[in-house]
Symmetry: C2
Subunit: 300 residues, 2 copies
């Protein structure tokens, strides 16, 4: 691949990214082609302070947090990790086509004492003001939101005044009880099935799994109601949870995410919308919010 | 729960199924309430000839096939199972947030000889004529199709002339090569992540997992490209694949599916759209095609 898609470094508008581009190119606009043509500046190094490392006995999961959407909850989870709160706790729940959830298997209402300097109750961060956030808007019909797109690498919804992270596959949220302020980050969950978008704006979302998702998605489903594990033997223990700036440099992963505010990302969306690869006989011409890949790689 | 939702057995139209119904009822319209109020006639016994039993060393998966959409492919798979084609073959692929696929690990172009009475190539059944099919239409914006809904228990899309099964979680399709007629049912796959709807109308869909989905969705992801397993040790072997009418009665599961052409199912859709359970603070008021549950139970 060459620079043919951006012959003079200009940003290709969506209007050019139709099937017509095939006629102008040596080869069609495919995801492989777009990724090969990406410039180093299309990638951003994820700050280690924004990477949460969840070490399980069988492997590591890395979550990028989203302080732009959930500053209080991210800070609270950081406080919990600095106190080694999660170490020795467990994965509590694995419900097929829904979520995997982790935290304290002995949680009860007296747990506040274990939170130490972390808050036991936090005001909800179900959404935030839309102003001040740049969103790459996706041209797509969406069942759940007026407008959807991508903000700083995360899938998001928006209406006139509000913006929120959406429950796409791999997104991480804060479990809560019935009260809006009953979540605090001591129990988190990740989406492992079709996007349960009805949860949008009902929980605080704080990040996305960017590495090792299969360590969570393949966990045996729990035998109890809602996929909860019913015994200690069923549960997977948590070795430790730390942010990248809380661990030795040698233990960190250097991860880069494709910037979602670039022409390359817009090209990627169109490549996945039009599906010009030979295999497709009836290319969709459409794409949904949770179907756009959000590439992450180990830094070259 | 009582008959309060259908006080005189009449069908509640969508217009009644708004939040206003709360004011008319003792309790809100929830999924639990709708299911409790379901009549025995809202359930249909699935014909054993339409149930495909995939027995793996660690458990059983049961697929309901859809001859209304893929008569030739269903018949071909039936021929293959009658010849014990799949017995001793393997799960070949597990790609996170995409598909699990099974068939012959030694497949190559000479495999036709192993198909016996089954066809090696079949005309595609990517879609069928929309006429002659009753669809319970879902009132929802859909990124991929003009109109979506449920036909005989399966999620489906429709345009002016065509109807097709859609790639929701748990749906089963026929793997194929580049040629439209290169699928024959000897390799099948199931969706284990967010619905890859761009595949709609590009492959023949022939059914849906109705039991034991977790036996497939939790399989370790393959280490090779596209989630293919790279060695025999990685693969899970297939003990046998048979249709219900090909096995002793004692080995069958008596399964019932909630009819999707009933008022109960329409109520279920509305209950999941409005989410009146106490836990929800900002009920979505929306629902997507692949978010509506399609209940299946062991016959009482």
């Amino acid at each position: 691949m060459t620079g043919r898609l951006h012959p003079s470094g200009t940003v290709l508008g969506a209007v050019l990214l139709s099937a017509a581009i095939v006629a102008w190119s040596d080869e069609p606009l495919t995801m492989a082609g777009v990724m090969e043509a990406a410039a180093p500046t299309d990638w951003r190094r994820i700050d280690q302070a924004d990477l949460m490392y969840v070490d399980l006995p069988h492997g590591r999961v890395v979550i990028e947090v989203a302080p732009a959407f959930a500053p209080m909850h991210v800070a609270n989870v950081r406080t919990l990790t600095s106190q080694k709160y999660f170490d020795g706790l467990a994965v509590l729940r694995s419900q097929d086509n829904y979520v995997v959830q982790w935290g304290d298997p002995d949680a009860d209402e007296d747990d506040a004492r274990r939170f130490g300097a972390a808050a036991a109750n936090l005001a909800p961060e179900f959404f935030r003001a839309a102003s001040g956030l740049e969103m790459t808007v996706l041209d797509s019909a969406d069942a759940y939101a007026d407008s959807v797109g991508y903000v700083q690498g995360f899938p998001a919804g928006r209406d006139e005044g509000r913006a929120w992270l959406t429950h796409c596959y791999g997104m991480v949220g804060v479990a809560r009880g019935s009260a809006a302020d009953s979540g605090n980050g001591a129990q988190l969950y990740v989406v492992i099935g079709h996007a349960p978008r009805h949860l949008d704006r009902n929980v605080t979302m704080l990040g996305r799994v960017v590495h090792g998702m299969q360590q969570l998605s393949t966990l045996p489903r729990g035998s109890g109601s809602l996929g909860f594990y019913e015994s200690g033997e069923e549960r997977t223990s948590i070795v430790s949870v730390r942010f990248g700036d809380q661990i030795p440099a040698a233990d960190r992963l250097a991860l880069e995410a494709l910037r979602t505010d670039t022409a390359t990302f817009s090209d990627l969306i169109e490549a996945r919308r039009t599906r010009l690869e030979d295999w497709f006989i009836d290319p969709a011409g459409h794409i949904g919010l949770c179907n756009v890949p959000l590439p992450v790689r180990v830094a070259p």
